[in-house]
Symmetry: C2
Subunit: 738 residues, 2 copies
């Protein structure tokens, strides 16, 4: 066996295999308004590696050591359409590290040029060999390639036409899989000439300004969003906006893109193609969908599998991918038609076969250009699954950033399944699905004959339970908490920023005001104290708020809060937003997040003395010895001892939230226990460390302020600053700061 | 508000309230073959506390401090029919502490007797005032009571008739709620005379032999079961038998009873009553059910909410209830008819109203005598819910211990919902369900006006993900592991105790042989070594096996094993029992447990030197310093330091298993994080500490043996011994050892 098939195959082999096996994505040919004619026959690269295997090897991401594999198995990282079908992740690591469009290091010098080949002006290429021409060309550095014959074999489908008439560089920077010698080698087979010296800069390459920016037509986003990458745009709302209201405003809904936002789609212009297992196709215009099927609404939270990844990085180690805070999650009312209705209309016999069969079959959603994902057919068609083909969001037309004109919404599943800019749905029978899942890699890997890891851990569909703290108020700040203004048990029917009774003893909260968050803006709570107090006050009030969410439509049944690092717990109040007439929850199950809030009393903490040594070896102050168990991410372990470690400078306490859903599953205690190198499903208890400090300057008097720790308090001041700094830097390097 | 309603109400008030509100359980009147006529009007106790509140107070179990309340809310402990409906628990604490039938301390002396009342012989009472007489009497100590007028008001229904003609004492010992002054007070109102002095012993009480044993007709159980209580019987299979086969043998299936096993039911003799929301009733004999509806099979695991409770006790603190090991779980094929089919036939319009409505309505299952529980109607009627009314178990007639002649099987839910000896099903509309759930306690509790804790945490229905290690083999013992005999990758089609390929690269394991478990019988692995080795061998092999299970039909997608206390992890092999033609898995979802096995290599550990000090302060041996992080329940914390603590005597390592289900929920890391005083849902990572030791006696040579720790290794030697000792003691105290 081992001699027949090489263990390590080249990228090129993978590409060639993909070219043979995967049909061209037909929707991509409608990228620009006219259709590019298909070339026949497909011509693979002329300089291929002769050692062509019958089966490709596993991708490298699946070769991570088992001890770090938790939850990462089945996560194949390629961005090609064919391999994304069962990719659970949001593909962060393919995009996050390359936000800028700086040219790739493919520098050539004209001296190495083949003198037998002609040169072309960039304007000539742009006008005569663009996406709609019968002979599309691309450039890379100073070289010109005729990719006409390569297009049918291109694993990413006709997306390649997006680059036709210009440079492929910006696209290779997005689809980083191209940064490989083998890809270059393929391209070299299509060399037809060179860029005219008149179009080259002093470095022998076309100047950056001559390279078209694929993101030039991206929509303008709300400035409050915290941006992780600009191109493609990935951004989350700041904590203060995240769960201020039950429904996230469309402009504040987190943005997760792998590329540019399609700009040439018009309502009714595109057709949705439904392909049945037999290969029959049925086409629908958006107008038809709206007219012929019953319009439904579903209130559903979407959450990226990478939400809270930054938490995992901080508490368990480096992870690859966008370092989301707690905001890669948002909630909206979606409007559209039931996927099941459309599939039945298209001729799919969904009742045929049992539930088992429906779990093995998949509905595969192909987005415009290079993204697709699938869900089990059982979820796609079951009445209580509530999967929508949606065109509306919170009562408005679906914004371009969220899939205009049509997207899938798969409530309760990882948001990667809710494919935006939907162009095609393929229903795959068991065999095809099985092929996608196994990708013929069955008998490969270090343990030949055994199932490789990524075959033993199915892809993520439903999301596990999670929660986060998004607001903290301490001391005098508690007076500014909107839902505290109504008082503890003083129910009333005033909807203005107060606790409101909505029947059944439940209360709803309007958090319209944007309060001061302790993590963002520390306010002296005892401003007239002088000198600095030695400890925090007895019975210092604290208020917390946040969200909790579980996949699969499982309702949040309780949220527990600890103010002392996990030593003691109390139950938080769940906000019954679904009972609020203003925000009814549409759908069969609990697809929306649950907001919670809590108020309590902090333990007494010692303030650090002015001369508190940075390498403290002295006995701990009594108050700290009592509470200090949580000066790291404690839970009663590491008792007191951490306080003696050199890097421990402050007396702090850790606020924790954890949620339980109706299946009584709850969150893991630590990210160490669920660590995986991709940083997916970072669902451990959410911890925010807060520390008292004495500040002077208030007319010479000392005041007590509270801060989140230097590396704790995900989503709080320190993190927000870091993220903004990164955004600014990226913006400067590309000259695009919008 | 506080003045209107007393904060602490008496048990009697509760009883009185219940008497007014709850209908008598009609099925209980068929306890013996004739029916007892209903007496009218109901007469409440004549000596009631005058402070009768309009609403009863919360029961004490709900008053636990919030910090210890996790997962216990909603767990009301009364054993009365009316209050069990939403009781998630298996009611352990009501029975476990009273396995014997020793008389309660109600000693009276004849000198305190009312001389105006007559005396009766016990034989007279037995023959003339038994369950079928128009005037049932009971005795308590030397007193005789005519309970005729109390029966309609008795919160537990006509179960009280079980005691008629004899002493109530054995029943009060089972239903421990009666051990309260207020209950006694109620009974005193019905005093009609005294037991004749001829029937009293020297202590002024009837001799124990004169008191009928309600358990006299209990079935005889398999001697291999580990018995927690004899009367009622609660027992679990030992680890060696638990998951030896995919389907647990009927005789080894764990037994969870609240009382005696009904002995007077015959097939066809009893009728199942279905009561619809309007009050209409429909009756079915077992024969009718079998003839008129399609017979279905479902392969489903049942698990007690108290499974692994002993783990929580050991790792997090004292819990109330039966101290189950890892064996309060078993798996079987159930045969019967779909509950949904029967409900539709009975006239229930299940499609009426949405999913939301069906979640709010409940199907309430009433067992014969004093047990009932409910499930949301959505689960009861959905096609993929697979709820059965079952008469068959693993191809045999349902055994008496498991509900003969008819029981409910609710796959994926806590086993407390799978009511045995089913007599009635009540479909309750939203209002009635709501009443059960809220029990009118809405505005009570420490925070008047706020929802009390038990109203904020709904009852357990679906079970969260859990797993356990049930077999450990080390060193030479690994040669005896059945599924290791086939070799690592040597797939073959021989089904005899070897790894067997069943297609798709999956393997199934026949564990027919009962191997030596390291926890039970330590075997020298290096029997000829002399003197004692200083460390365990390099690359010492280890093999583990066990089970994993998640509720709600969620498939187990991966099981991870750590051999070093959580520092590193590896994936276990999942046994694909469902693909084995001998054990197909019936049903729409993954209702059965998943067995797993793992083989690996232990880290090198130091053996304790002969003079190893019990209060070691010396530096740790290097090998221990490297591995010793897990000498407690570590996970890399408490690093090394535990080795210096006085009670640390051995160099050990902790084996851990944790499972992940298809919703990607996983198990909590520690029981401290989910501690609740009832010890429910003890689903933390399962840990088994193993320790090397040098033993002599093998012809004077030293041999390396492995032991589970003294308090670790739930279900292993130490625990088995403790449990057997408890069983023996209980048996001796009652004279009933069967």
């Amino acid at each position: 066996m081992a001699t027949r098939i090489p263990r390590i195959a080249t990228r090129e082999q993978l590409l060639k295999h993909a070219a043979r096996r995967v049909p061209i994505n037909p929707t991509a040919r409608r990228l620009h308004t006219t259709t590019v004619p298909r070339r026949n026959p497909p011509t693979p690269t002329p300089r291929s590696n002769p050692q062509t295997p019958s089966k490709p090897p596993p991708p490298k991401t699946a070769r991570v050591a088992p001890s770090s594999l938790l939850l990462t198995s089945g996560l194949l990282a390629s961005l090609f359409v064919f391999s994304q079908t069962h990719d659970d992740d949001d593909h962060d690591d393919d995009t996050s590290s390359r936000p800028s469009l700086s040219p790739s290091p493919t520098t050539t010098s004209t001296s190495s040029r083949d003198p037998s080949l002609p040169t072309y002006r960039l304007s000539f290429i742009r006008h005569n060999h663009g996406p709609t021409s019968p002979e599309p060309w691309v450039t890379l550095g100073d070289k010109v390639y005729n990719i006409t014959d390569w297009i049918p074999a291109h694993p990413g489908g006709d997306v390649i036409l997006r680059a036709a008439g210009g440079s492929v560089e910006p696209y290779w920077n997005i689809f980083s899989i191209h940064h490989s010698p083998h890809v270059k080698e393929i391209l070299e087979g299509y060399l037809v000439g060179y860029v005219s010296p008149s179009d080259l800069g002093p470095d022998g390459k076309p100047p950056p300004a001559s390279i078209e920016d694929p993101f030039v037509n991206d929509p303008i986003r709300d400035k409050r969003l915290i941006t992780h990458t600009l191109k493609p745009r990935n951004a989350e709302p700041p904590n203060g906006e995240l769960d201020k209201s039950f429904l996230t405003g469309n402009e504040m809904f987190y943005v997760r893109h792998h590329m540019w936002v399609p700009d040439d789609a018009g309502e009714g212009e595109e057709e949705l193609v439904v392909e049945l297992p037999g290969g029959e196709e049925r086409r629908y215009t958006l107008g038809e969908l709206k007219r012929r099927f019953k319009t439904e609404r579903v209130t559903a939270t979407l959450q990226c599998s990478g939400n809270r990844r930054n938490d995992m990085t901080r508490h368990a180690g480096k992870t690859n991918g966008l370092q989301w805070g707690v905001g890669a999650i948002s909630n909206a009312v979606w409007e559209g038609v039931r996927l099941g209705d459309v599939l039945r209309d298209a001729g799919l016999e969904v009742e045929k076969g049992g539930e088992d069969q429906r779990k093995k079959m998949h509905a595969w959603f192909v987005g415009r250009e290079a993204y697709s994902a699938s869900i089990p057919l059982a979820k796609a068609v079951e009445g209580t699954g509530d999967v929508l083909l949606a065109w509306g969001m919170n009562g408005e037309v679906l914004p371009r950033d969220h899939g205009f004109p049509l997207r899938v919404v798969v409530p309760g599943n990882v948001a990667a399944r809710s494919v935006k800019w939907l162009s095609k749905i393929v229903i795959a029978d068991e065999e095809a699905t099985s092929q996608w899942q196994r990708r013929d890699y069955k008998s490969f890997g270090p343990n030949e004959g055994a199932s490789p890891d990524w075959d033993r851990a199915p892809s993520i569909q439903e999301m596990p339970v999670t929660s986060a703290i998004t607001g903290v108020w301490v001391g005098e700040c508690v007076k500014k908490v909107p839902w505290m203004m109504g008082g503890g048990d003083n129910n009333n029917n005033n909807n203005n920023n107060k606790i409101t009774s909505v029947g059944s003893g439940q209360r709803t909260i309007d958090m319209a005001a944007t309060p001061q968050k302790v993590g963002f803006t520390a306010k002296p709570t005892t401003p007239t104290a002088t000198p600095c107090p030695k400890t925090t006050p007895d019975k210092e009030p604290i208020a917390l708020q946040g969200y909790a969410y579980s996949g699969g439509g499982r309702k949040i049944t309780r949220v527990d809060v600890s103010l002392d690092g996990g030593a003691t717990w109390d139950q938080a109040e769940l906000v019954d937003d679904c009972s609020n007439p203003a925000t009814p929850c549409y759908g069969s199950k609990s697809w929306a997040w649950t907001r919670w809030r809590y108020n309590g009393t902090l333990p007494v903490l010692s303030l650090p003395p002015a001369s508190f040594p940075s390498t403290a070896t002295a006995p701990l102050p009594p108050a700290l010895a009592k509470v200090g168990q949580d000066c790291e991410d404690g839970f009663g372990r590491s008792v007191g001892l951490m306080g003696r470690l050199p890097n421990h400078k402050k007396q702090c306490t850790t606020l924790i939230v954890k949620a339980t859903d109706e299946s009584y599953n709850t969150q893991p205690e630590s990210h160490k226990g669920i660590y995986n190198v991709r940083g997916n499903l970072a669902t451990a208890w959410h911890r925010v460390k807060i520390c008292p400090e004495c500040t002077k300057g208030n007319g010479g008097k000392g005041g007590l302020v509270w801060n989140t720790g230097e590396t704790y308090g995900c989503g709080f001041r320190k993190e927000a600053e870091e993220v903004r700094e990164g955004m600014r830097a990226a913006s400067e390097s590309t000259g695009n700061g919008k």
